[in-house]
Every structure is written in structure tokens, then in C-alpha cells.
Symmetry: none
Subunit: 131 residues, 2 copies
DNA sequence: ATATCATGTAACTGTATGGTTACATGTTAT
DNA sequence: ATAACATGTAACCATACAGTTACATGATAT
């Protein structure tokens, strides 16, 4: 379903972005569309290797391809990156928060859930001996 | 420095984010730190499987771990996601640009239909045959 | 000391990835 | 038709990973 689609899209996208060569291909395509051979020429690996990278990028819909004579021109499609951006949204609040207050927040949440005292700050344990 | 390079960090991060279970773990930790066992309890896979996921998340520095008695409490570390956010920046302009061109496209279509002038310059076709 | 709990690691399996070279397919030029 | 070009795919190899079960380690409680 939709939820499944987003999950799958994110999976394919992150997977595609995990490889430095593929990220470099995207960076390259930011400057403009290019045929496969020209893309391959920009990297120190074999042409078939790039062909396979392009396949993964296609699978993630990060690039589109159209034929132009005997060339296959690849074009950047930023759409999936927007999905990544949206996914990041949940976490953005975390780093805008001051790191110290984040730490406190997280630890107090843990304390609430477990009823246990977090080991960091307060030493006021009950009658138990410390150290 | 342990921070080899942004490239390496991005690689480990995207790699870690590629798995839906690991993303779910992060989503869980957004609510608060938890010991490994409790995290594992939230998923339908075996505990060692989660343990390995946590190892990858650790490698990407997406979580931190500290011992608390016989528990190992895992805490979200959003820092690498900030790096991802920064990486996305290059592409963000891209999709806002796409939205802009889409807007222009829609407006020009509207103009064609109504004969109204829009902000998009009318294409002066050359002598080439048009159908 | 011993049992129990919490957790990581080893060993193993099946699958995917990243790389290579060799080959197939389709397009353009002669 | 044929040669040359652009590109993808197959076959193969090594490595990584996601999952499993069995085992090792370390902390608590008795």
C-alpha cells in the first residue's frame, strides 16, 4: 500500500545513496543530463560497473533515462530526495534543540518509562551502597 | 581524527538507513533511550538480529550506547542526520526549481487556453516545420 | 558460588552488491 | 551489408549483510 510504497522507496533510495560512486554520479547530473558513456568516463571504474550503478539509481527513481540516437541520456530526478527530506523532518527538531536539553529530555523520558533513575546525574540512590 | 571524511560518514549513514528495521529502531529511540532487549522486543526478528542492527547503527554513530547495570542503553544521536541534511542542501534548490518550472508550465498552459499573457515568454518558433 | 538475566559474538546460510571480462543488441555511418 | 560505436547483460568472484541457533561474557540476586 502507500505506506509500504514509501518504505520501499526509502529503502531503495538510501540503498542507492549508500555508494560514493553513485552519489558522485548524482552530483555530476546536477550539472546537466549526460549519456551513460560520458558518465562512465568520469570514473576510474569500468563502464559496465557504471552501468550497474545506473541500474540501481534507476530502480530508486533517482535518475530517468531516455534514448537519443545511440546514446542513453541520464537525467537527475530529485523527487525521491524530497521523500528523504520529508523523512528527515522528524529528526530535524532534535538537532535544533540544544544538545544538553536533548540529553536531559531523552534521559527523563527513559526514567519515566522505566521508573528507574538514570545513572548520569543524580547520585541520590536509596540505601544501596554505591561504587 | 576518527572522522575520516564526510564521504565515509555519509556512506555508513546511508548504509545504516537503508534497512527498514534500522529506521524503525531510530524512530523508536526518538521517543526515548532504551536498553537493547526492550528494542528487540519491539520487532518480530530475533534478538541477535537486532544486536547486529545496533552494531551498524553504532558504526554510523546514529546511536550511542552506555552501560547501566546489566543493560546497555541505546540513545539516538542525530548528528549524522545533520550531515545528510547538509548533503541534501545541494538538491533542495533543485526541487524547488522544479516546482517553479512546473508552476510556470501550468501557467503557460493556462495562458494558452485563455489567450492570456503569462510571465513565461512565448516561444518564437523558427522556420522549422511545426505540426 | 551459583543461577539468572541482558547482551554481544561465532558460525552458518542465502542473497545482494561491486567489480571484472566477454558477449549481445541496437544505431549510425560507409 | 558491414563496420564502428554506445550501451546493457551474463557469468563469475569476493565481500557484506540479514537472518538463524548456539555459545560466551558480565552483572545481579540469592
Amino acid at each position: 500500500m502507500r505506506n509500504r510504497s514509501v518504505t520501499y522507496l526509502l529503502e531503495a533510495t538510501f540503498q542507492a545513496l549508500a555508494d560514493p560512486t553513485r552519489r558522485a554520479v548524482l552530483d555530476l547530473l546536477r550539472r546537466g543530463s549526460q549519456p551513460a558513456g560520458q558518465i562512465a568516463g568520469a570514473f576510474p571504474v569500468s563502464r559496465p560497473a557504471i552501468s550497474k550503478h545506473l541500474r540501481l539509481l534507476r530502480r530508486a527513481h533517482l535518475v530517468r533515462e531516455h534514448r537519443e540516437g545511440r546514446h542513453r541520456v541520464y537525467q537527475l530526478n530529485p523527487e525521491p530526495l524530497r521523500t528523504v527530506d520529508k523523512w528527515l523532518e522528524h529528526y530535524r527538531t532534535f538537532w535544533t534543540m540544544n544538545l544538553t536539553s536533548l540529553k536531559n529530555f531523552v534521559e527523563s523520558e527513559y526514567a519515566k518509562e522505566t521508573g528507574k533513575q538514570s545513572s548520569v546525574k543524580p547520585r541520590a540512590k536509596n540505601s544501596k551502597g554505591e561504587n
